[in-house]
Symmetry: C2
Subunit: 99 residues, 2 copies
DNA sequence: ATTACATTTAGACATTGGTCTAAATATTGG
DNA sequence: CCAATATTTAGACCAATGTCTAAATGTAAT
C-alpha cells in the first residue's frame, strides 16, 4: 500500500524530517506541542506537514478530547528500507568478489 | 560529506529513482543510452537529472572519448540507510519487548 | 577544417510545494 | 449557551523545481 515513492517525497522536506526525528525521540506528541518546536513557523504550516506525513503513513494520529496526538509509524519505513537496500546490492553484479 | 538531506531530496524525484534503478541493473551506461530509456523526455532533461544525482554523489561519471559513462555509487546510500534505520529503532523506547 | 555526434548549459515556462493569514470546525469549561 | 482552546482547512503568494527549446562545448572522423 504505502508507496515508497510517496514516502520518499514526504521525507524530502527538512521540516518533515525534523518532525519525524522529534516523534521518534518523544514517542507521542500533541499537534500543538509539535508546533512549539518550530517557533519560526505557523501552526497551520506544521499541521499541513503533519497531514502529509499522515497521508503517506509515516505517522498515525489519535484524537483524545480536543487534542490530536501523533506518533511515528515504523512499519511504512520498512518498505522504503527494502527499496534502498535493493539499490546497493543485487542487480547485474559489478563488484569485486570477496571485497 | 554526503548530506542525507540532499540525498533524500535527489531521490524524491521519480525519474531520478528510475535512473538509479537502471544503473543498478545495468552497472554502467552512457548518458545517451540512459536517455533512450526515457522516450517521453528530452536528453537535456535527463542530463539535468544526471547532474543532480552526480552532485549529491549518488552516481559517478567517467568520460571516455565523446561518451560520458555513469554508474551508481552505493557508498553514499549507506549514510541514508543509517538515518532511516535510526528512525525505526532507538529513541524513547515505545515498543513491546521481544515482539 | 568541416561535418557529425554526444553531452551539457542557458534561459524560459508552467507546475509543484511550502508558508502565511484568515476563517472554519471540534471540544471543553463556566 | 458562550467563550476559550486546539487543530484543521481554504485561499493566496512566492520560491523551488522539472521540463522544453535552442545554443554551446567537446570529441572524433573524413
Amino acid at each position: 500500500m504505502a508507496n515508497t515513492a510517496e514516502v520518499l517525497k514526504a521525507m524530502s522536506d527538512k521540516t518533515r524530517r525534523h518532525i519525524l526525528e522529534l516523534l521518534k525521540q518523544q514517542g507521542r506528541m500533541a499537534a500543538g506541542d509539535i508546533a512549539l518546536q518550530f517557533p519560526s513557523m505557523t501552526q497551520a504550516t506544521i499541521s499541513h506537514h503533519l497531514s502529509i506525513l499522515n497521508e503517506v503513513g509515516l505517522i498515525q494520529s489519535e484524537k483524545v478530547g480536543k487534542y490530536i496526538f501523533y506518533e511515528i509509524n515504523t512499519t511504512v519505513i520498512q518498505d522504503l528500507l527494502q527499496w534502498i537496500i535493493g539499490l546497493t546490492e543485487g542487480g547485474t553484479n559489478n563488484e569485486t568478489p570477496d571485497a
